[in-house]
Symmetry: C2
Subunit: 247 residues, 2 copies
């Protein structure tokens, strides 16, 4: 029986891989995942069997990997960012009991909330929420409720999947809900596109401006708490040392 | 003028460093940080000047690093986990305008929500909140409000700083608030102690049991949403493929 590593590869470039992720990819005989991720990473680990499927064939891809591991192969299942945060580690662990003898090991990685946050500065320096705006698997009402609760708690927010061709307008709706729930139009926000990849771009802007922004599915969005500030072009949520130390 | 890298080193062991973090630590002439973190990492990058201060001298440590960078040195400021999530990146960016010419670059890392989550399985597989129970810099009322809002939104929760000698009882109070706010006593929870270090331990348990647990400050706590399940000893929050695919 083989091991199946669910590996978080970070935002893309080799420089975001942890040593632990490298080791798993190195040991694996098979690399499996969504086509784009495998293409990013496979050239660094040549000579391995690869298996890729397009988006939205997650169940089939997970079953393939579990079967492969059951047949005795060492398999690495590539996940963008972290393996657990909207990644496939959960689905693999849900299915694993149907494949006796396969051991699923989760290897964490730098999720977009962290890699995108670093580009903007330190937007998640205090308590925060991560919410996906994709309603493929989650009813929009549940997303809306979470946005209202995040606003009520004055959390910083990181939004994944802010839009897609089928979800045009989701970000605009989300911003509207947050404003309605009491967030100021001047709340400091930011977005990062193509994190850690060619053509990376980012902007710090107000919630009011974010509402009108046209962003694509390769973008991660950050919405500040009431304490978040723009400092020299960076988005920063202070933890509160300035109050404690009395500047 | 030098560069100041705020580097997220992950939970401790060298295997959690990203390539980007390694490169910054390699290029730096000075390693600076809380004593424990510097001791974990400095042996991997020998022959460098080091500067350490005990806990709670964050402001002084940041100023030292900024001055050093202003004098022309390349400085790496070590942060446990991620540089931005309750890390020093925010404070460094807040202070940086007082040190003209110093460029602060943030290098993200694997924060405990991710590294601890991987040990437990995939507890943060759907929308989640991260909340620190430390009231050193945040009034307890604000923490309590965020816990209530996280419960109202049926978020998964990751709790940092669940207790310390001065904060005994905070976790118990937090669990009480979550129960009062409507979370079921049977909610699947978990904790991980000494993530990625010697003597790592973890347990999956109910919210009711968590309320009675005695945990120390080296522990990270996970509280499930209503969808979180224990599967073969792992803590898993499904994203919803099982519903979509009709198992």
């Amino acid at each position: 029986m083989g091991t199946l590593w669910a590996v978080g590869i970070g935002p893309g470039g080799a420089e975001f891989l942890t040593g632990q992720a490298r080791e798993a990819l190195d040991r694996a005989e098979v690399l499996c995942g969504y086509t784009v991720y495998v293409e990013l990473v496979a050239p660094l680990f040549p000579g391995k069997e690869t298996y890729t499927t397009p988006m939205r064939q997650e169940l089939e891809r997970c079953r393939w990997a579990l079967e492969k591991a059951q047949s005795g192969k060492e398999v690495a299942f590539l996940c963008s960012g972290d393996a657990g945060v909207y990644g496939m580690a959960g689905l693999l662990l849900q299915l694993a009991p149907q494949y006796p003898g396969v051991e699923v090991q989760v290897v964490p990685g730098v999720t977009a909330a962290l890699s995108g946050g670093a580009v903007l500065g330190a937007p998640l320096g205090h308590d925060f929420c991560v919410v996906s705006l994709s309603d493929l698997l989650t009813p929009w009402e549940a997303i809306e409720k979470r946005l209202r609760c995040a606003a009520a708690g004055d959390f910083c927010l990181c939004l994944y999947n802010p839009s897609s061709r089928k979800r045009a307008g989701h970000l605009k709706r989300a911003c509207g809900i947050l404003l309605e729930a009491g967030k100021s139009p001047q709340t400091v926000c930011g977005w990062v596109r193509n994190i850690g990849r060619e053509g990376q771009s980012a902007r710090v802007l107000s919630l009011q401006e974010l509402r009108e922004a046209e962003l694509d599915m390769f973008t991660t969005v950050f919405i500040g708490s009431s304490a978040t500030r723009e400092i020299a072009g960076k988005m920063v949520t202070p933890r509160g040392y300035e109050a404690k130390c009395g500047w």
